[in-house]
Amino acid sequence: MSALSIRTLNLHHGLLHAVRDLSLDLASGEVVALVGANGAGKTTLLRAIAGTHRPTSGSISFDGADITAVPVHRRVSLGIALVPEGRRLFAQMTVEENLKLGTMSGRPGQWTVDKVIETFPNLAARRTARAGTLSGGEQQATAIGRALMSNPSLLLLDEVSLGLSPIAVDSVYESLSELMRSGTTILLVEQDLARAMRVASRVVCLLEGRVALEGDTASLPRERVTEAYFGLNHQRVVA
């Protein structure tokens, strides 16, 4: 059974048609990478799945139930968690308080403040520091930890490597690898194509709000993804 099922979804930013007639299915436990150029509609799509962007038309189903009209905070208690672009931590609050906020949905599960800190050891010394004073890597770890605290069955990661040093990116993905094996369904947006192809089992390439290419990372040649990414074929057809 598919965990997430999106049917002919249309999303608008004012006059901009960001996502056009998009359909996508995620199987339970699958790790899918969403790639595409800036403005392809990746972030908008994740926000629509999380519930912070209202679709113009189309439907989103999660675990077999239609959630298109379910408000954002209720989707968290259903098991959907988004690590938003730019982390969006509560800067005035401490790392621990940010993490504890993740438990507001009341979903039972294995995640605790101690377990998050065990997973992201760089947070151990910063537990009582205000989130606004953290380094980029620490902020990202806190944002992911906050999402994990709601014990999600579907985790949406929006550019977790943005603004981080290569070492910090490695350590974030290192910490995520165990999670990816544990059966959590993950949909991630990643600019680094090589990394996206490495961590995900399937890659979905968006171009101007449409799925330009979709396939298993094992069988898909990287050149074809690059072509779809920049819309090279697309332009040739138009010309």
Binding site: T52, P71, V72, H73, V76, R88, M93
Partner: protein, 292 residues
């Protein structure tokens, strides 16, 4: 001198009590509630009606009035503040200003122009006093009100700092969209915060009614004192609010020593002084730093 000081500090407790709800609402929801004073008078009249018609003591009456104030706060947020906030940050100020006028005149319609008080219903509490060393007498009620103010202010701070609901309220106040992403119902949280604020308004209304007289139009003066205490104390911190109330009350009681008219004038003068210092000092400091 010593007497004025002590009486002033105790009066400051009352101002801090009435300011607590105003600062709570401002720091958490970024809303200046101009109906604050009128709502306190509504609570005082509700206690008065219960005492006069049903013989309910104002202290027992609080058990009825405070839950009603909480419900009123919840509905106020849902149906007035939420909606007006969508139209811009200044619209809630206008909306609560209008609400204050409606409340004042409704009270005038129901209760008429006579001043009234809860003092007759609290036995000897309104004139009981204790003698301090040095022949200074302080009112028992004033001490109770001061203690209540401290309890309310510390309670609000503890609630915000250490409880899950307090964390959720702070998160919602910092970033309502992201609060939704961690599973917080942002609208429910702001309405809850408004309910909490109005419970403190209810307590302040009881204090207002017991310590003196009030009428349908007393709300404006209460709002003014609460506002001045909040600004002097630098809205947003517990001890700041208490200190603001005390500074305002001290200015008033020393002003009254100079002239009977000095009570209000000295209070307003200190308020303006603090306001100007607040506005000018950062600019002066900036200029001096540039010259150095």
């Amino acid at each position: 001198m010593m007497n004025s000081l002590i009486q002033g500090i105790l009066l400051g407790g009352y101002y801090a009590l009435i300011a607590s709800g105003l600062t709570f609402m401002f720091s958490v929801m970024r809303i200046i509630n101009l109906a604050h004073g009128s709502l306190a008078v509504v609570a005082a009249y509700a206690l008065f009606a219960l005492a006069k018609n049903l013989g309910v003591s104002p202290f027992t009456g609080l058990l009825i009035v405070l839950p009603l104030m909480a419900i009123a706060g919840f509905l106020l947020q849902r149906f007035v503040l939420d909606r007006s906030l969508r139209a811009g940050a200044l619209v809630p100020i206008l909306a609560t200003f209008g609400l204050a006028i409606v409340l004042d005149n409704t009270l005038f319609e129901i209760f008429g122009a006579n001043t009234t008080s809860l003092a007759p219903f609290v036995g000897s509490l309104s004139y009981d006093s204790i003698e301090l060393p040095g022949g200074i007498y302080v009112g028992v009620l004033a001490v109770y009100i001061f203690a209540t103010a401290v309890v309310v202010l510390v309670g609000l701070q503890l609630l915000l700092s250490f409880t899950p609901i307090g964390r959720a309220i702070r998160a919602t106040s910092e970033d309502p969209d992201t609060a939704g992403l961690v599973g917080i119902n942002a609208r429910l949280m702001t309405a809850t915060a408004a309910a909490i604020a109005l419970v403190t308004v209810g307590i302040a209304g009881a204090a207002l009614g017991m310590r003196g007289t009030f009428d349908a139009y007393s709300g404006g003066a209460q709002l003014l004192f609460a506002f001045e205490a909040a600004v002097i104390g630098g809205a947003g911190s517990v001890w700041g609010t208490l200190l603001g109330g005390i500074v305002l009350a001290l200015a008033q009681s020393f002003g009254a020593q100079i002239s009977p008219l000095g009570f209000l004038i000295a209070g307003h003068a200190v308020f303006f002084l603090v306001l100007f210092v607040r506005l000018l000092l950062p600019r002066l400091a900036e200029r001096m730093r540039r010259q150095a």
